[in-house]
Symmetry: C2
Subunit: 234 residues, 2 copies
């Protein structure tokens, strides 16, 4: 049976783009020399097609991951079996690294949301390394700190802002800072953006149409903003 490259599970060398993403991760960006080598040696590269399961809630947590390309959805099921996204991981994001010292089982389901390349780190190996090498411990701390901050921001965003405000915030984080017009391109399906913002896809769609009044035009994945400053007022 033949498989396409997308479907394959490979340990081959990183391509340049993936390598660049990996090196900018808080996890690796501060490492040099020996620490970097040892860290890389605990790692393998995995490529998965769209909608493949990476792990399931309750499974034994023996690895954590960094997204190199593509996207990963972390989600849980409620009592009725409906899925709710907890987090959408983009290239450069690390997930399940909190289980290094926080528990032994995965706490949600993880699934690719596109063809995706992951760096897989062996949990126990990194645990051991962190105890030996100061700079690895520090890298872990930095990574956890940043992750914690974005997660708290997520809670704040959910509790503080309405759907159009969340969307406006998202757009603003990807716009140039000056006040004029701007144009951005979503790097993924609206589906995923909805999940990031804690919205149903329909609610996202309606939020966009609310923002039309504020000079936001959406065509496919391209979002045009008439006046960035005006968007801040929302």
């Amino acid at each position: 049976m033949e498989e396409t490259a997308d479907m394959m599970n490979s340990n081959f060398k990183l391509n340049n783009r993936d390598r660049a993403v990996l090196m900018k991760t808080p996890f690796l960006s501060s490492l040099t020399g020996n620490s970097l080598v040892r860290m890389m040696s605990t790692m393998s590269v995995i490529s998965l097609a769209n909608r493949k399961s990476i792990f399931r809630e309750g499974e034994n947590a023996d690895a954590f991951y960094c997204v190199l390309s593509g996207y990963v959805r972390l989600y849980q099921l409620n009592r009725d079996g409906r899925e709710a996204d907890i987090r959408i991981c983009s290239p450069g994001d690390t997930f399940a690294e909190c289980l290094l010292y926080g528990g032994t089982k995965y706490r949600h389901h993880a699934q690719t949301a596109e063809a995706t390349t992951l760096a897989r780190f062996d949990m126990q190996a990194v645990r051991d390394l962190a105890e030996q090498e100061r700079d690895i411990a520090k890298a872990v701390i930095t990574s956890l700190s940043k992750h914690l901050i974005t997660t708290m921001d997520c809670v704040a965003n959910d509790r503080l802002h309405t759907a159009p405000q969340r969307v406006a915030n998202y757009i603003l984080t990807r716009c140039p800072v000056d006040g004029g017009p701007a144009s951005i391109r979503l790097p993924f399906q609206k589906n995923l953006l909805a999940g990031m913002l804690g919205l149903a896809p329909e609610a996202l769609s309606r939020a966009f149409s609310t923002l039309r009044r504020t000079g936001v035009t959406v065509r496919g994945r391209v979002i045009q903003v008439g006046d960035v400053q005006a968007l801040r007022e929302i």
Copy 2:
């Protein structure tokens, strides 16, 4: 001018209960000998009356804190000036420790929600210590990991469950595991519970009255559960 003990800001020795809480913190529970001593020496104890500000959003983050007794509310203001609680910290909880490596400014307001005793850790001192002492770095990692997990659970809870479900979950976490009847006492005002669960106080009140159908009786701070098992089904 005289102040009552409650209003005072003191560096006196810890009382036994506060010391016990402090030592069970993920931050200190794993430390021994020299590390423990050095960590304690970066710390001071602060007592504050109800509703005192600890820090404000945007201020320079030069300390993080651990709650020894009382409660602390972390909140933000939305555009209309309304407050939304991001997190309620109970005895044993640490807050703002993510700024050890995650940034230099506080990201929300922090205010006591009762007469409260805090352990205050100097940010730079702990940063330095963590780089010197392996077990302190490990303690930081453990603390951040656990904090990250509870914060992700908070997101999941907000996105997955209705108000009565959140309240039921909260009650269940403080009930004995077996299925029979149980009685618990809230350790704080309903106000705070509402903030923890991301609800308006009125919504919490209504959630309780919804749960009456499931055999939950509320009188003041005392909550009686007819059948713990039934509560799980909600």
